[in-house]
Symmetry: C2
Subunit: 403 residues, 2 copies
């Protein structure tokens, strides 16, 4: 059996290990937190810091292959391991290019891949000097993650919220749709492309509402999305799974926003909706098996379960039972004990022949299932009890009045 | 999070733990073999003997609920734990009834559930005295598993291969079809019925060839299968997952063959082919969630991967790559390091809108994928090399001759 290590034990590692149990592979996990979502699902748990050279090097030495579930890993150690014969997915050189938003942007330019107009900034003064770029987005070169390290700049005042460290100042694109495209690349360079995903945003809150796949795109845009994504990942010259996020304008122009060199949130629906899921596919790539079938069994959508604002501490999933009683819905709870505002705590997948049904259920799930803490749950339960008591006493009063 | 223990760490435990990672549950596993298929997928591995009272009692004490993946567990300990408040799926009383083939048969009779005519035998003399029952099947009361403890008796000579321990002598039914029916029962007695499974046998070898679901049954037989199965499990008065195996005759009569009070080989296709798999469903039952949707997403079939005759030792999956290149096929390898003749080493699921495609692929997989040992693999590779060398030299001879 091949020995394969994963750096990072979050939900992506968890789902990767669920899929691993279909194949003959011995799994290793490097992670600092023994209670992390993936920690109990591997053959060998190794406690250590994925950002530390020695920890990563010691972990990877002697394994057949390595992969990551987060970009913030020590790529120097990965480079050394690769030189010593360990196969790494993605290749450390690809990870290095993508990890820094500055080199990522330069890579797109260098290979003629359409991306929003940008300049590189060394500090806030560099931003102040280029007010002509506004409205813009300021992105931290290194260390941004999950919405952190990204600052929208619509007005002069917003500029002061920018970053003093090196980054990218990017002209805001007037976006009609945001699309995610998952692509797999094998050791021999063979590729497999998933149907694109439509990332639907709540315009009012500027938050991701739900994702739906296959995305509804005219043929003329679809081929551009596929061709541009394919180019964006192929030039990285690395096997693995990649997620390309793209902007599509009303005019049908397509720009690459960002690329992730790993399994990705936008591909979670593939677990139930596609023949070979993104997790299954990564194992096929690593184990040297033929590529899987990316085709959809049925259209799918996912809703992310995000920790509610104002709620921290021991998690409670309000409305979970109601969602579990829906017919064509699959719940994935990541097993994190504590919720925090904005923390990814799980997701729900819907599959259906009817896109209307996907959209209807996605909204229903968003309105039904809330990730809160125990205190908020107790409060909600008390309110519900008081309300039903009030209603009962009103009903009694009315009955009495009616006599 | 609820603390739930599983007795037994085989492939059923493995798939149960794969499904557990979708829910907030802390998993415990009691198993003697640290390298068992499920051993690495739980939160807490406890080494111990599932047949030993103290091991099971100590393991279950303090847990919220327990389930089994094999019948050969210590039910005295389970009964004590149940009395002390641990929920057990299935209830120990149900397990006790089913575990002994004698009490299982008596249970069917008692509740008017149609089953093949039988007598109870104490020893071989008891069988010899009832030659009028032939052709018959002699089943060991306790301890039979996976084809062991079952003896076909067609002739007088066969009788001598019977069992000296208490058992059941059952008249052979002339079977048109063998059907398996998976049923889930919740804590409040609510039930959910999966589409029935057609267990297709190789008539020549008398071996299970493949399973296909939904089974092709006329309405008049279908309702009988459902009604009889439901009765067979309801009278056990226990929540859990149950698999009822039935015989259907050419005349459309339906008889219960056996019941298993747990997730079952005949339900493996539900992982990909049905909205809620049998494993997902058992977690819903144990965690007190609403029942899942048993409906098929698409028709499905499975082929069991069984250790080939004459092959023991380190396993090799000959033809695995070819099967992995098939479009609508899902491979499940159970991670057992050693193969043995007849050992269950994995299964392959096929899903398809077309039943013809299921049957075609099932046969193709059976002819393509063989579970052999490393030695046999080396031999096959050498033979293939020699053959291609011969062909090359013949081709050279012909070319020379042709000059």
């Amino acid at each position: 059996m091949l020995k394969v290590g994963i750096l990072g034990g979050g939900q992506l590692g968890r789902m990767l290990l669920q899929a691993a149990a279909n194949y003959p592979v011995e799994t290793y996990l490097l992670e600092n937190d023994e209670a992390a979502p993936a920690a109990h699902l591997c053959h060998h748990f190794v406690k250590g810091d994925i950002r530390n050279f020695d920890d990563v090097y010691r972990f990877g030495k002697g394994l057949d292959a390595l992969t990551i579930e987060i970009e913030s890993v020590n790529e120097d150690a990965l480079e050394r391991l690769e030189a010593e014969g360990v196969r790494v997915y993605p290749r450390p050189s690809a990870l290095r290019t993508i990890k820094n938003k500055i080199t990522q942007k330069q890579y797109y330019t260098q290979h003629g891949i359409p991306t929003a107009e940008y300049i590189i900034t060394q500090n806030l003064d560099g931003v102040r000097a280029r007010m002509d770029m506004l409205p813009a987005v300021h992105k931290l070169g290194m260390g941004g993650y999950d919405g952190k390290g990204v600052q929208m700049m619509r007005t002069k005042e917003d500029v002061e919220k920018g970053f003093e460290q090196p980054g990218v100042l990017e002209k805001m694109v007037v976006v009609d749709k945001e699309i995610a495209q998952i692509i797999a690349i094998g050791d021999k360079g063979e590729t497999a492309i998933y149907p694109p995903v439509d990332m639907v945003f709540d315009q009012r809150l500027n938050l991701l509402d739900y994702q739906i796949s296959p995305a509804d795109l005219p043929q003329s845009v679809l081929w551009k999305v596929e061709a541009i994504s394919l180019r964006a990942v192929k030039e990285l010259k690395s096997p693995g799974i990649f997620a390309v996020e793209l902007f599509v304008t009303k005019q049908g122009d397509v720009y690459v926003n960002e690329t992730a060199p790993r399994v990705h949130n936008s591909g979670h629906h593939t677990i139930e909706a596609n023949y070979s899921s993104q997790f299954d596919m990564l194992w096929r790539v690593i184990l040297g098996y033929p590529m899987g079938n990316t085709e959809a069994i049925l259209p799918g959508a996912i809703v992310n379960l995000i920790g509610a604002e104002g709620c921290s501490g021991e998690v409670h999933y309000e409305g979970l039972e109601e969602v579990l009683s829906m017919d064509n819905v699959f719940v994935h709870i990541y097993g994190k004990k504590e919720t925090k505002p904005g923390r990814k705590m799980g997701h729900v997948t819907i599959i259906s022949r009817e896109k209307q049904d996907l959209v209807y259920k996605a909204h229903k799930i968003k309105n039904t299932l809330r990730v809160i803490n125990k205190e908020a749950h107790t409060q909600l339960a008390a309110e519900a009890a008081r309300k039903s008591e009030e209603e009962a006493s009103e009903a009694r009063a009315m009955t009495t009045g009616g006599r």
